[in-house]
Symmetry: C2
Amino acid sequence: MELLEKFKQQTFKIKAYNYALNVVGWDSATEAPRNAFQRRSEMMGVLSGELFQLNTSKESQEVVYGLFERLEELSDLDKKQVIKAKKGLDKIIKIPQDEFVEYNKLVGLSQRLWEDAKENNDFELFRPNLEKLIDFNKKFVSYYEIDDHPYNVLLDDYEEGMSMKEYDAFFDTLKRDLVPFVKDVLNSGKVLNDAFALDSFDKAKQKEFCDYLIDVLAFDRNSGVMKESVHPFTWNTHPGDVRFTTRYLENMVFSSIFAAIHELGHATYEQQIDNALNDTILGGGSSMGLHESQSRFYENIVGRSLEFWEVHYPKMLELFPEQLKNVSLDDFYRATNKVEASLIRVEADELTYPLHIMLRYEIERMLMSDEVEVKDLPKLWNSKIVEYLGIEPKNDAEGVLQDVHWSAGLLGYFPTYALGSAYAAQFYYAMKKEINVEQLIKENKISEINAWLKDKIHQYGQSKTPKELLLDVTGEPFDAKYYVQYLKEKYGKLYL
Amino acid sequence: MELLEKFKQQTFKIKAYNYALNVVGWDSATEAPRNAFQRRSEMMGVLSGELFQLNTSKESQEVVYGLFERLEELSDLDKKQVIKAKKGLDKIIKIPQDEFVEYNKLVGLSQRLWEDAKENNDFELFRPNLEKLIDFNKKFVSYYEIDDHPYNVLLDDYEEGMSMKEYDAFFDTLKRDLVPFVKDVLNSGKVLNDAFALDSFDKAKQKEFCDYLIDVLAFDRNSGVMKESVHPFTWNTHPGDVRFTTRYLENMVFSSIFAAIHELGHATYEQQIDNALNDTILGGGSSMGLHESQSRFYENIVGRSLEFWEVHYPKMLELFPEQLKNVSLDDFYRATNKVEASLIRVEADELTYPLHIMLRYEIERMLMSDEVEVKDLPKLWNSKIVEYLGIEPKNDAEGVLQDVHWSAGLLGYFPTYALGSAYAAQFYYAMKKEINVEQLIKENKISEINAWLKDKIHQYGQSKTPKELLLDVTGEPFDAKYYVQYLKEKYGKLYL
C-alpha cells in the first residue's frame, strides 16, 4: 500500500528530527555551558518549527487520516501505529505553529530559570514563566476541543485511559487503607538509625559504587552512558543508546545510590525493547506509569531488599570503611527503608512517597480548574505538606521549587509516579509465582529478573497498552490492593 | 531588499540544522556509547539530506545568484556573505543529493572504524572505507568542473587561495632554510633530558592542571567546556558555546598539557569573535591556517616559553612533588622543547613538526594524482618517515593510522598546520613591536595578549581573509622567513 510506505518514510524522517532534538536536550541537561542557552533556544525553536510542520503537513494529514479510514487492511502493529498517530495528530494540528514554537522556546528557557530560582530560593524569579507554561497548556487543551475537564486531557496524555475519576479512586484507596497504616508506622516509636548515612561520603567513591551498580543490574555498557545532573533522569533514542544520570551529595550517600538504581530501572526497560519497534512509533516504554513501575521495582523491591545488601554491602564496606565501621548489614538495610515525614519527594521513603504525589496531584488539579493562582502556590504547597506530613519547608527550594517537571511544561505527569509503584507491586506478586525473586537477588543474578521482565513486559514497548500488560502479565486488571499489601507486609515487619 | 531578507532567513534556518548536527557530532566524539553509532548514522543521514536540500533548493539558488548579480547594492559585510555563499553553492549544487547523504553516512561510520583499526593496528579494517572516502572526494571535485588539479580544489577549500604551487614554494623554503638547521640540531650531540616526563602522572591530577590552565589562558568558563576524547579537538557553535578536549596519558604528561593549551588557542579565537557575526555566514575563524596559527601561538610561543613556566611550574610541583623532585625549572622548560626524531605528529616537537606535515602533504598529493593506491599507503608512509626522520613505525597505529583526519574525509587539511605555524611567527614579530609579550606571560596577564589578538584578528571572524589579516596586522604579505627566523633563534639558543 503506497499510503503505508509514505507513512513509514514520514515516521523515519520525524524520528531523525526528534533524535537531534533529544541529543541537544541531553547536552543541555548535562553539559552545555551557561552562555549556550539563549542561542540554543533560538536554534531549537527553528527545528521544532520544522518538526511541527512535518508532523502537521497536508501530506502527513492525508497519510494518517487516509490510513485511519482503511484500518481493517492493516497488520495489527500498523493498526496500532495509525491509531496512535491519529490521536496525536488530532491534538497537534489544532495548535498554531507560532504558538508551538514559542512554547518550545519557553520550555528551554524555563528550565534554566528554574535552576536559578531553586538555587536562589526565589519563586518569584520562576513565577512568570510558570504562569506562561500553565496558560499555554490550558490554551492547547482548549484547542483540542475535547469535551472534558482540561486536567483529564493532560492526565490521559501521560497515562492513556486515566482521568481524575480513576486517580481519585486510586488515591481514595490509599487514603482508606494506607494512610492509617502510615500513621501507625510514624507513631510506632521505633526509630531506625541512619545517622551514619549523613556522614561525609567522598563523591568520587559514590560514583565508583554507582558504576559498580551498572554491572550488578546487568545494564549493557555498550548501549548506555551514566552521567551526573542536577535532577536524575533517563534518556534514550533507541535500545542501543540509553543514558541515565544520578547526582552525588556528599552528605546523603543514599541519594546517588537509589537514584542510580531507579534510573537503571527506566534504562533497563528501554534497552530491552524489541529493536524491531525502532522504526515504528511504538518504541519506548508503554506509558509513564509503566515506566515508573519498572524504576520503582528496581529501586524499592530489588534495591531496598535485605537480599540485595547481603551481596553488595561488602562493596560499600570496601569503599567506605571509616563511615560504615560500626554499621551492621541489618542496620544498613533498615536505614535504606527508614520511614519519616520529609520534605523532598525524590528523597522520600517508599511508604510516605505517595503522599508527596497526592499533594502535587491536588495542586495540579486546582491549577487546571482555576481554583488557585500561581502566585499562591508556595503558600498552598506549604499548607498541604504541613497537613499531610506535619512539617514545613524552610524555603521554596525545598517546597514548590523542588521538582523540574513544571519547568518542562509537564502537568499531569506526577500522578503516574504513584500509579507506577502500584503497578510494580502487582507485577511483583505475579513474578514471585514464576521465579524466586529474592533468591536471584541474593545470588547476584539480576539478569534473570531482567529476562523475565523483558519477556513479559519490556520487549513490547508501546505495542501493548498498560491495561493489556497488566492483564497479560498478572491475569487481572489493575488493582491497588497489591500495593497496599506489599507495603503493609514490608513495613509491618520493619516497624510494627 | 526582499531578496536579502530571504537570504538572512535562509541562513538562520541552515544554522539551526548545523547547530543540531554539530551537537550530535560533539556527543559522538566524546560520549555516545558504542551501539549508538549505527542508528545515529541513519538519523544524521536524514538530517544531512534535509540540510542539503535547504542549501541547494531552487529558492536558495534564486536568492544567492540573484544577490550575486546585485553585489554593488550590498553592504560590505553582506557582499562578503553572498560571495562566500555563491562559491559554496557553485560547488554543492553539482553533487547529487543521494551521494551527499551517502558520503555523510560513510564519514560517520568511518570515524568509528578508524578508532577500531587504530586500536587493533589493523589498516585493512579501515582501508575499504578510506578508499571510498577518497573516491568520493575525487568524484565530488570532478562534479565541480573547475579546471584545475583535484588536489588544488581541495587545498583551496581549507585555505582560500592556496594551491600546490604556493605550498610547494612554502615547503621549498623550509627545505632550503630549515632542514639543514634541523639536521644540525639533531646532530648537535646535545641531549635534553626529559625522562622525568615519562614517569607516571596521575590522570586526575593532570586533569586538575589542565583545568588550572583554563584560567591561566583566561578562557571564559561560562561559554565553554573542557572534556576528554581520543583525539583532542575544539568545537563550537557560537562564541557563547566553545568546547575543547584533551587526552590524558599516564606516562606522557606533556601530552595533555600541550594539547589543552593548543585547543585553548583555537577555543579562545572562537570565543573572541564578534557576536554580531553570529547570524551571518562569516562567524568562525578566518581559515584553517589562521586557526592553526592561533593554537600554535598559544601552544608553542606562549606555552613552551621559559616565562610561562616561571609562573606555572610551581603549580606542577604542587601537584607532582614526587615526579618532579629532582627537576629544576630550567630542566622542565628545556624538556618541553626537546627536539627528536619521533613518529607521532601530535606528540612531535615544534621543530620537526613541519616534516610530519610535509610527509602528509606529499602523500595526499600522490593520492589525488593517482600516483599511489590506498593499499600501498602503509609502506609509502613508513618509507617516507624513514627518509625524513630516520625512524620506522612498529605498526600502523603509530604510522598511517595515527590521524583522525582522513577518516573524517579531510583531504588537503594537513598542510594548513604547517602554514599556521608560519603565520603565527609572523604575527608574533608584529605583536612584539606593540606589547611586551614575554613580560605579560611572566606576569600571568595572558588576558592582555588575548585582547591584542581579539582586536587585531579574532573579532573579525571570516569577515577578513587570511591575506587581509596578514597585511593589516603585520604590514606585509605572508613571508615564511619569520617562521624560519623564529625557529632558528629559539632552537639555536637551546641546542647550538
